[in-house]
Symmetry: C3
Subunit: 311 residues, 3 copies
């Protein structure tokens, strides 16, 4: 694809507006092909994807492996990659990746240490895609979130987006916020308990980019205003006092009653898995988009595999 210059995908920051558009256009093609002519069904027939997971993440792994399969590609897979570099044997990530480069055409790596994906990319003769590296990045997740927003609104310009829940530790909301800054004239609403507010680095970054944001504690205030509510789970272990946790967890629940406070063409997103923060009664509301969002991961990953391997 003219203009797609990446050799690896290790962090959301690699993507500028132009690259995002390329990926999203190819994702659109992939989506259309699956319900239509299946023109990509043998596109990567002679390629092998290695799923190199240093910790299990079945959901992410399945999404990538489904994407590769939909393109006709072959898969070799492990959720046991730590065994490669067991303490006893002590092999470096560098050596592991060099060896893997001889067995596959693209590596999808999940690792427990932040920064591992970039290190792997530097060692690798074949493309590396980061499927999450510890507290670091999970760029394909940020891309599918952004794609879901783009897919639901003809124009990103002017959108008002609320992020709700654990904004301090939530890797997904941080990365999505970063990608949103590639588009102009949006407004962000950060809705969270005080103990898990969005960090200053992101707020300062938004200020530098001249993107307006505001902080709220009350979900109800924001619901009637915004075009998109991005819900996340609030985790018990962030709170010192169990009572504080119960209060917060109760407050940031988007039930059907609250969903009805939203605009009729607004959307509800969630990175999944959810626990109680969105009850199942909301699933049939036309605003609910979280299963569609999970499904979009397939098209984004098909697009990335295609772009990295056919370029």
């Amino acid at each position: 694809m003219a203009g797609f210059s990446l050799k690896h995908v290790y962090e959301a920051q690699q993507f500028d507006r132009e690259l995002l558009e390329i990926v999203f256009n190819v994702a659109d093609d992939m989506k259309a092909s699956l319900t239509g002519d299946r023109q990509y069904a043998r596109e990567l027939e002679h390629s092998i994807m290695a799923s190199l997971f240093y910790e299990p993440s079945t959901r992410t792994r399945f999404s990538f492996e489904s994407a590769m399969s939909r393109l006709g590609g072959k898969i070799i897979t492990t959720e046991n990659a730590r065994e490669f570099s067991s303490a006893a044997k002590g092999e470096s990530l560098y050596d592991t990746i060099r060896v893997m480069s001889g067995y596959a055409d693209v590596i999808v790596m999940r690792h427990h240490e932040a920064g591992s994906a970039k290190k792997a990319a530097e060692a690798s003769a074949i493309p590396v895609i980061n499927a999450g590296d510890g507290a670091g990045q999970h760029p394909t997740k940020a891309l599918l979130d952004m794609y879901t927003i783009k897919d639901n609104f003809s124009e990103i310009h002017g959108l008002k987006i609320a992020m709700v829940g654990d904004l301090k530790y939530g890797r997904t909301v941080r990365s999505l916020t970063y990608l949103l800054t590639k588009y102009n004239n949006i407004k962000l609403y950060f809705v969270s308990p005080s103990v898990c507010r969005m960090e200053d680095d992101i707020k300062n970054f938004l200020d530098r980019m001249d993107i307006p944001w505001t902080e709220e504690e009350e979900l109800e205030k924001v619901l009637p205003i915004v075009d998109c509510v991005y819900m996340t789970r609030i985790q018990k272990e962030r709170f010192q006092d169990p009572d504080d946790y119960r209060t917060a967890a109760g407050k940031y629940v988007l039930n059907l009653e609250k969903a009805h406070m939203m605009n009729s063409n607004a959307i509800i997103m969630h990175p999944l898995p959810r626990v109680n923060e969105i009850p199942r009664e909301v699933d049939t509301d036309p605003r609910a988009r979280y299963f569609e969002q999970a499904g979009n991961g397939l098209y984004i990953r098909m697009a990335l595999l295609y772009l990295l391997l056919k370029n």
Copy 2:
């Protein structure tokens, strides 16, 4: 296939005589194709099967994955599915299945809780096949048992079938008995120690269906009479007194001497794995059918995948 109306396969009770005949006919086709023209080798080329195993069962998983591969299909697989819904994350089976529906065309699920397969089927937009759910059902196993009997006798009508060993807890014999009632004029012989007799619910059901049955403790009495002996393992943990176990385990062994008491055209079945209840000396006896029976699992699963995905 005209007449095949199922969307999912979660329990043996879904199959009436007509559905059984359809499945068995397609299984015959599949078997013939593998040694012949391989006409189905690319039939499911564009389909993905997700093996979603909440507990390992390599044997069953391999049988399904071999079946899908023989049809040209693709596979994404985990024996680690509990991680999806880990206690920490707490995702419901409903959500897991909804997400999986976006990644695959058919789900083969193994679960530790009885009733899970039916729940999964209700949540799923794509076909679900039960590969065993706890103490519940393992319908494809019952089908392959029934298919093996049908394959060995031109006529089910009039057959005398003995079930031997642990009839109380044995999921396979209970399900097979159920399927046998779809055929007329058979007679059943339940041979077991008193602590693991066939349960009353099945016996009452047989009475209602007017199917004669009898209980025996002595294997030797039954061997000369029956057309089929279905052996199962007796498990130590069913017995309070270890001596009782040793007596029972010794009694329900079908060695070559006892096999010779059977009719020359009778058959010996076993769901495998076996331990001591059939010594290896019997393997070369022409009556031994347990490895053929395991192999039939492939044709039955090919047939079901084909029927569910091509209908």
Copy 3:
């Protein structure tokens, strides 16, 4: 392939000079096809390989599965095969292999007990390839080592080869030595600390075959003389005194300075994973061949799969 008579591959001793040449020629073809016409890309399209690993060995498993994929074949895989024959169920290897024979066209087995591969081969109706059985054999590794030497020298005749490190417990150096004896007029240099010298059985075998060998403790003495240095890891647990270990580990390190003592057309091999015995600075030296060596595993395994399944 005319002349390839093996039904299974369970030990290096099965290969005579003629069989080695056949395997290496096919491996050359496979290698050429991957960067060229990919003429073998659908060769095994209708075949299934079962990876039956009783213990994890991701590196070896990936190499075999990549080989099968490059030939267009399908894969069913487990690193959990012990579950098949769990203590509770107690199934014999014989039964497991008989059942597996119905699901696949070739079995690649890794087992924790020496001799298991040969036992499996005897039970199996389909080809079995040994991917390592405990302290026993790992024949495909010996073949790829031998292939790497052959690939780097127009003539094996007259080569001087040093083996360095743990020669007592190193399965790879023992098997490679065995294969080298199939070629005439070579000379071997065994370089190791006294506690891990090459065993007498191999030395006596070399004497009987009239192949000259010598033992050294100083790596530097040998480096200027030989054509090939085969490095291995020295393991701490072989030494009673930790100081002895540190001395030995320090002594048998091939750094860049020492590499420069070697002939310019000599080569450095290592079975990988490495720890400190070859620092990364050596990787860019033209003598370094260990990553190429790992890559050669792919061609050898493609060749074996092809020969076993197409013959």
